[in-house]
């Protein structure tokens, strides 16, 4: 594996737990203790009921493609060798939508509502990225 030349996550107080989970190949999301809403991006209050009572849950890793786009232009040199690549908004079974990549199939095989499951890409010592592939 050559030197990783793509942007890395910017960890902040809200997202630290999410990225720590990724390192252990777990998808961790906040669940509101009052209304049960599972949210992403991470935030201090529930966007639905405004409660700050929160617990972290581990999502099962399965979802479906809400929408996607196929990049034919690299807006960052790190992605030049990946073209064409798929950026997708995946709706997890637990509710949140995650911006991610679809891998493990050709771009022209990706469809909205396609069922996908998480697959982990260990990119550095510190970081693993949750990407998604067609559910087998």
């Amino acid at each position: 594996m050559g030197e990783y030349n793509k942007p890395l996550p910017n960890i902040n107080g809200d997202s630290r737990e999410f990225w720590a989970g990724c390192k252990e190949h777990q998808l961790r999301f906040q669940m509101c203790k009052v209304c049960g809403h599972v949210r992403w991006p991470a935030s201090i209050i529930c966007p639905r009921c405004y409660s700050n009572e929160t617990k972290w849950i581990i999502a099962g890793g399965r979802g479906k493609v809400y929408t996607f786009a196929v990049y034919h232009v690299a807006y960052h040199p790190g992605f030049e060798n990946d073209l064409p690549y798929v950026v997708a908004d995946v709706e997890l079974e637990e509710g949140p939508r995650l911006l991610t990549n679809i891998v493990g199939c050709r771009p022209d095989e990706v469809k909205c509502e396609m069922v996908v499951e998480v697959t982990w890409e260990d990119i550095t010592e510190e970081f693993s990225l949750p990407k998604f592939k067609p559910y087998q």
Partner: protein, 262 residues
């Protein structure tokens, strides 16, 4: 717009792809896609070909040209995306009373509406409509005391072809998925029954943000548009009322403005 800075981790950058995500969801939700958008790209180009100030003035475009252009972010090809332009536009806004003494006949702003669904694009449920255009459009028409039937032309914020479709659809010119049929036979072109983006718009004239549509509407109502002037010169209705739009983010904010000839 880029609230989630970690988008770049997955190679997601900028507005083209954000709108591409919206357009793809629309393709899944109702009947739309390149067959619809090519009519917007080519229709607006025909207006640009009448506008010496347009970047694409001397470059006609066919449906074949549209399909042959390279992909940027699928489902958008090159001609689905607006131009990048160095330049500026200005519109003076003042009271009707003050405007009476000015050199050009004033144009009256008779209705305004705004609606801002304002979700991060990944969490948004308005990508395939209704966008902010629906409520903003209703509000603008209501405040102007008119209906869609009173509109003679539209100047629509056209960062992408899909933006024009979803805006006209949310304003109520046609139902979801009926855009392709509505656009057939040159509806929005010179000679058409509902001219849209008569300067060529941001797709074919120049990208001056919301000022491309607004300044064109004002100029048309003042009768200062030369070869592309709405009326007998372009076999269209002489305009009394023009509807303008502006939107921001990835369909997160929307303004609708009704302009009327004084």
């Amino acid at each position: 717009m880029e609230r989630n800075a970690d988008d770049a981790v997955f190679g997601h950058f900028g507005a083209v792809a954000g709108y591409a995500l919206a357009a793809r969801r629309a393709m899944h939700t109702f009947r739309t896609g390149p067959e619809t958008w090519k009519r917007i790209a080519v229709g607006q180009r025909r207006w640009a070909n009448l506008n010496p100030a347009a970047t694409m003035y001397d470059r006609p475009m066919t449906f074949e040209d549209y399909y042959n252009a390279r992909w940027i972010v699928d489902p958008f090809r090159l001609f689905d995306t607006c131009l990048m332009t160095d330049g500026g536009r200005a519109v003076i806004i003042t009271s009707a009373e003050r405007a009476r003494d000015l050199r050009h006949p004033p144009v009256l702003m008779t209705g305004v509406g705004q609606h801002n669904p304002s979700y991060d694009v990944h969490q948004a449920t308005h990508l395939a409509g209704p966008t902010g255009a629906k409520k903003a459009g209703e509000m603008a028409l209501r405040s102007a005391g008119i209906t869609l039937n009173d509109i003679d032309a539209c100047e629509i914020y056209d960062c992408f072809t899909y933006t024009v479709e979803i805006t006209l659809q949310d304003y109520g010119f046609f139902g979801p998925g009926e855009g392709e049929d509505w656009l057939k036979n040159g509806t929005i072109e010179p000679g058409g029954r509902m001219p849209v983006n008569t300067s060529g718009g941001q797709l074919s004239e120049g990208y001056y943000m919301g000022l491309t549509p607004l300044s064109e509407a004002a100029m048309q109502l003042m009768g200062r548009c030369g070869e592309r002037q709405l009326g007998p010169a372009t076999h269209t209705k002489s305009p009394e009322i023009i509807l303008c739009s502006d939107n921001g983010g990835i369909l997160q904010t929307h303004s609708c403005i009704v302009l009327r000839r004084s």
